[in-house]
């Protein structure tokens, strides 16, 4: 495409007072021969934007460089459509607001930032959204329990077709054996009827919902809006195309046979909470040992939960479920002695009121560790515990029945670790640790990296519980309910509703060729220049979202609708064949090479900062908004993710004479904050390779530094940048200056 560049420099917000705008304009019109270059005192005003639009119409300008505020603000104002190239140069937050006005170094910084923007804009191409054929907006829900039914119902209510696949012969999941539920309505201290029949009736009677029972997923191939699902049912197989997937396969109770210390398997009258629930449901609550009525009961909470020997985590629902079951006994006969042995009562939300009511009902709540469950010699059982609240061992009166509140094990954890293909002979071993994927036979994804969702701790699918709870590492697949995290009924309902919304968002965005979280709306996607591919598999292995499959020869087979547009593949590729139309290895490399590097006698070192657009870049903006000054030798290069950093940029920068390189990215590790899960971790792994480059150039390894920073740590920006600048100043200048 023939590009005609228009450069627009804003002089508002203090820019005109701080910078020599005419000199900046000369950079655009002189060095870069921009045919159109204008200044405006209020560029984001209707008049300013009108001027740009007039140039687009009248002058045929189609590549716009807006030298004004941060690329994070005024995005709606400076939106001229995907067919125009747009580059934002941040002169406000990162230059004028953080550096002294009318200063030589400030001016040099502004000019370099502009040079980089101009270089990028010259090389960018307008975006063409990815549009495939036969895109489906149907939503597949796997699992027909409370969460699955709720998700199906909500999606159908919003007008989407739903395919609901349930393993057993009827809908309901855990609810099928539930007698009553803890009330989700005020005053919250009573029990309410099981919602199963009403909900199942509502779901099955909806026109847009197709239910498969006795069915499992044989295989899911494809990508968002292009998922090809094979459903195994009664020995046969059905095929469906789906746009997004909600995984709501729930949890199973922890195996009580491992809880012999609590008497299970040893005494017939020690049962599990689901067993008691079934008794009440069946209307016959008797002692398994002799069939006699139950005159007293004890509940042992956290049976196998919050226990390093069993499930280390809290199963979230058992406290309220046990309170509910205690209420069954008190409703039947208020005089029935009931004990609850607990570690902490975690009666979430309004269920504190149910807890309070059970206290008023006279239930004995014992806080502490159960030390033994023993026969009292007369056919009943006695529970001993170390009671925290009386600071002494205690012993219950004899009880007829003991109920263990066994915790939740997600169905996603029920499987052996999937082994990634072992490297063939002569191949290098993968440097990047593979994700934990358990072959739980739920989704059976035809993904190169494995058949199920990658798991974090305890076999739960990865999700960032604070920022983006529903996002798994597989685009368009949203776990919901107790398979995602331990939760109670009301949270599962909320969770399923949220997941339905995410699924809808997915099919809508993908069908417009747009990216999903976190680059929602982005219409760029990576292009692979296959002629130069060496089948090294780095892109297929490193993609945090399993977006790239592989053919038998090891050629990457990209699935653009699975892609989150982070550019990790671009950073990984040693051949630099992966590019976006507006973001590529060459483009950023050239931008860096266009920085004006003064020779060593000027004593003006140059530092480039590759800043993650998700956390680090906004943190620098925040420093600007707070007017926190920092060193003027730094030049900021925004990157989609630190994982998109290609090592060639480091070589480019050092051979250009840049003195130091800082990689400013998100925290990685167990509590990672990277929006692309593994980007900053991958950058860290690649850092170990930088050593080779530096050795080859005979440069100090300290010249390249990776710093982890979260968005809230903006106050650290000056300290981090100044300290690095000081270190660089302490070294000799980069000897490649002027080459």
């Amino acid at each position: 495409m023939e590009t005609k560049m228009g450069v627009y420099i804003c002089t508002g917000c203090g820019l005109g007072d701080a910078l020599d705008i005419d000199a900046l304009a000369t950079v655009a019109t002189g060095e870069y021969k921009a045919p159109v270059c204008r200044q405006h005192a209020f560029l984001c005003s209707a008049e300013g934007v009108g001027q740009i639009k007039a140039d687009i119409e009248g002058e045929g300008v189609n590549a716009l460089v807006i030298a004004a505020c941060s690329l994070r603000v005024m995005t709606d104002v400076f939106d001229f459509g995907p067919d125009k190239v747009l580059e934002r140069v941040n002169l406000r937050e990162q230059v004028a607001w953080t550096h002294p006005a009318n200063d030589e170094d400030t001016q040099m910084m502004a000019e370099d930032q502009l040079r980089m923007g101009l270089t990028k804009a010259k090389e960018m191409q307008p975006l063409e959204p990815f549009m495939a054929e036969d895109l489906s907006k149907r939503i597949l829900v796997v699992g027909g329990g409370l969460a699955g039914m709720t998700a199906a119902n909500e999606a159908a209510k919003a007008g989407y077709e739903v395919v609901l696949v349930e393993k057993s012969d009827q809908l309901g999941g855990y609810l099928k054996d539930v007698y009553k539920m803890a009330s989700a309505q005020p005053p919250y201290d009573e029990l309410s009827p099981n919602v199963l029949d009403t909900l199942a009736q509502e779901v099955t009677s909806r026109a847009g919902v197709k239910v498969y029972t006795n069915a499992t997923i044989g295989e899911i191939a494809g990508a968002p809006c292009l998922f090809d699902v094979k459903i195994k049912q009664n020995g046969g197989e059905a095929a469906e195309r789906a746009g997004a997937i909600i995984m709501a396969t729930g949890a199973v109770p922890y195996d009580a046979s491992k809880l012999e210390n609590l008497g299970f398997g040893k005494h017939a009258d020690v049962i599990t909470a689901p067993q008691l629930e079934a008794m009440f449901k069946a209307g016959s609550v008797t002692r398994p040992s002799n069939g006699q009525p139950v005159g007293s009961a004890a509940f042992i909470l956290c049976a196998g939960s919050r226990d390093p020997e069993h499930l280390p985590y809290c199963s979230a629902a058992c406290c309220v479920e046990s309170l509910k079951q205690a209420k069954y006994f008190k409703e039947a006969n208020p005089e029935t002695p009931v004990y609850v042995f607990y570690k902490d009562i975690r009666a979430n939300g309004n269920y504190e009121l149910l807890y309070k009511q059970l206290q008023k009902d006279g239930v004995f709540f014992v806080r502490g560790t159960v030390t033994s469950v023993e026969d009292d010699g007369a056919g009943s059982l006695v529970v001993s515990a170390d009671d925290v609240l009386t600071r002494s061992p205690m012993m219950s009166e004899s009880v007829d029945l003991i109920v263990l509140a066994t915790g939740m094990v997600p169905t996603s954890a029920l499987g052996e670790p999937f082994k990634a293909q072992a490297p063939k002979e002569g191949e290098e071993k993968a440097e990047v640790p593979a994700d934990t994927i358990l072959a739980s036979n739920i989704l059976n994804l035809q993904y190169r990296q494995g058949p199920e969702l990658p798991a974090l701790k305890y076999g739960y699918p990865d999700s960032h519980f604070v920022c983006f709870p529903y996002e798994s590492r597989r685009t368009g697949i949203y776990p919901a309910g107790s398979v995602r995290a331990p939760m109670d009924y009301s949270r599962a309902v909320d969770d399923a509703t949220g997941a339905a919304l995410k699924a809808i968002q997915c099919v809508e965005m993908v069908s417009q060729g747009k990216a999903l979280h976190p680059r929602a709306g982005d219409m760029s996607y990576p292009d692979f220049f296959m002629q130069r591919c060496t089948q090294c598999k780095r892109c297929t292995e490193e993609c945090p979202f399993g977006a790239i499959n592989e053919d038998e020869k090891g050629n990457p087979l990209p699935n653009p609708t699975r892609c989150r547009r982070c550019g990790v593949c671009m950073g990984a590729c040693p051949e630099r064949i992966i590019s976006f139309k507006n973001y590529s290895v060459g483009m950023i490399g050239n931008a860096i090479k266009n920085i004006n590097v003064p020779d060593e006698y000027d004593e003006k070192p140059r530092i480039i900062v590759l800043a993650c657009e998700n956390d680090a870049y906004p943190a620098i903006d925040m420093a600007g908004i707070r007017r926190l000054p920092f060193n003027a030798w730094v030049r900021f290069v925004p990157v989609r993710c630190l994982g998109s950093m290609n090592l060639v940029w480091i070589a480019d920068a050092l051979s250009k004479g840049i003195d130091g390189i800082m990689l400013l990215g998100c925290k990685h590790g167990d509590d990672y904050q990277c929006h692309f899960v593994k980007g900053s971790e991958l950058a860290n792994i690649r850092m170990t390779k930088i050593q080779e480059t530096l050795d080859r150039l005979r440069l100090e390894s300290d010249r390249v530094h990776l710093e982890q920073l979260s968005i809230s740590e903006y106050k650290r920006i000056p300290e981090v940048l100044d300290a690095f600048a000081e270190k660089i100043q302490g070294m000799d200048p980069n000897p490649y200056k002027g080459f």
């Binding site: 002695p337 004990y339 807890y355 309070k356 206290q359 008023k360 009902d361 006279g362 239930v363 004995f364 014992v366 806080r367 001993s384 009671d387 609240l389 009386t390 600071r391 002494s392 061992p393 205690m394 012993m395 219950s396 009166e397």
Partner: protein, 386 residues
């Protein structure tokens, strides 16, 4: 350690004795941390933990009956007023005591007190016929059919030589204001408030019945009490037994009289006076402003507020039967109260309860501060300013 056994029977017995809310407690421990016992050192402070005591009651476990635990609480209501679950902690303490004392197991030091109340109608071993001795030389009217108010003088102010000055001052003030009041006299019995708090339910019922019959027989409609303890039990415990009267503490009545212009205090003393809120007037009965307004009009601008005051006032340690407890020096709440007053530069600490007067006086003496701080009852200041 031997395991403690849970006893449903014991728990239910305690609940029956009046600990109706004992199961409501969620054991958060706010009570223990607010308890004035945390402010002093010593054996009782170490043994007595109100949360733990509630816990034992809740589980019907033994251990609460130990004397230094069971009788430590002064029922000041600091915990109860702040309990997030609305547990009636004072009732629970009373019920737990009753479950022991009711079985005839009152501690030795309390037996003469309870015995005197049984025999003489007062816990101070005072003969019935001397109940009105404090009236000497004052010409106090007897309560009759035309009398508006019945003035019920606390037994403490009938018999304790220091405390009789309170009765005299209040009577003087009422006369000065022209209030129609009278005293019934020797047939009156102790209100029984502290007896009930000590767990002697039977004795309380006996005293209350005797008073109700007497007062109703005399046609009593309105009662002025000198002590906040009598005020509280008349108002809160007598009605369900058949004693329904309009009951007012003398400070509330005097406040109205001043407002109506029937009483004034021309001879303000001009001393720096601090007011100590009695628990049964303040936290238990919500009377905070009346004594302050009276003190304001009698002491002018010289009244000072203590650091811990009103809802956060610190107990003198005289309630719940603790007035009869022997407490070593250095462990008395009253000593902290005396220090509070001295910290504010007060030369006089006044209150509106005979028990507080008694406890604060003892504390001031044990600290040897009697030359720096004078302990008075509010009515004495008011009467002197007439």
């Amino acid at each position: 350690m031997e395991p403690k056994n849970v006893s449903l029977e014991m728990r239910d017995y305690i609940a029956e004795m009046g600990a109706e809310t004992i199961n409501w407690c969620m054991q958060c421990g706010l009570c223990t941390n607010l308890c004035p016992w945390r402010l002093v050192p010593g054996e009782t402070s170490e043994n007595f933990n109100i949360r733990h005591m509630q816990r034992l009651g809740q589980m019907g476990m033994e251990g609460f009956e130990e004397e230094s635990v069971l009788f430590a609480c002064s029922t000041c209501s600091m915990c109860q007023s702040n309990c997030p679950r609305g547990v009636k902690i004072v009732d629970n303490v009373r019920a737990m005591r009753a479950s022991i004392v009711g079985g005839g197991m009152a501690p030795a030091n309390l037996r003469p007190i309870l015995g005197s109340a049984h025999a003489n109608g007062n816990p101070w071993s005072g003969p019935r016929e001397k109940r009105t001795d404090w009236q000497a030389g004052l010409d106090i009217p007897a309560f009759g059919p035309d009398t508006e108010y019945f003035l019920f003088v606390c037994c403490h102010s009938c018999y304790d030589p220091r405390s009789t000055k309170v009765a005299k001052s209040i009577a003087t003030l009422l006369k000065a204001a022209g209030v129609s009041f009278g005293v019934i006299g020797n047939d009156e019995s102790c209100c029984g408030e502290s007896m009930r708090k000590l767990g002697d339910e039977e004795l309380f019922q006996k005293l209350a019945q005797s008073n109700i019959e007497l007062f109703n027989g005399k046609g009593v409609k309105k009662i002025i009490t000198t002590s906040p303890h009598c005020l509280w039990t008349f108002k809160n415990e007598y009605p369900e037994l058949g004693g329904e009267w309009e009951v007012i503490h003398y400070t509330d009545l005097l406040k109205q009289l001043v407002a109506d212009g029937k009483l004034s205090f021309p001879k303000a003393a001009g001393k720096k006076v601090a007011f100590h809120d009695p628990c049964y007037l303040g936290r238990h009965s919500q009377v905070y402003d009346a004594p302050r307004q009276l003190l304001g009009s009698a002491a002018g601008g010289d009244a000072v507020e203590l650091g811990r005051s009103r809802e956060m006032s610190l107990c003198c340690a005289g309630g719940g039967g603790r007035i009869w407890a022997e407490v070593p020096m250095g462990e008395r709440f009253g000593e902290l109260r005396v220090t509070d007053a001295l910290d504010k530069g007060a030369v006089m600490l006044t209150t509106a309860c005979p028990y507080c007067l008694n406890m604060l006086t003892d504390a001031c003496n044990s600290l040897g501060k009697q030359d720096e701080l004078e302990i008075t009852e509010l009515s004495e200041i008011l009467a002197a300013a007439l």
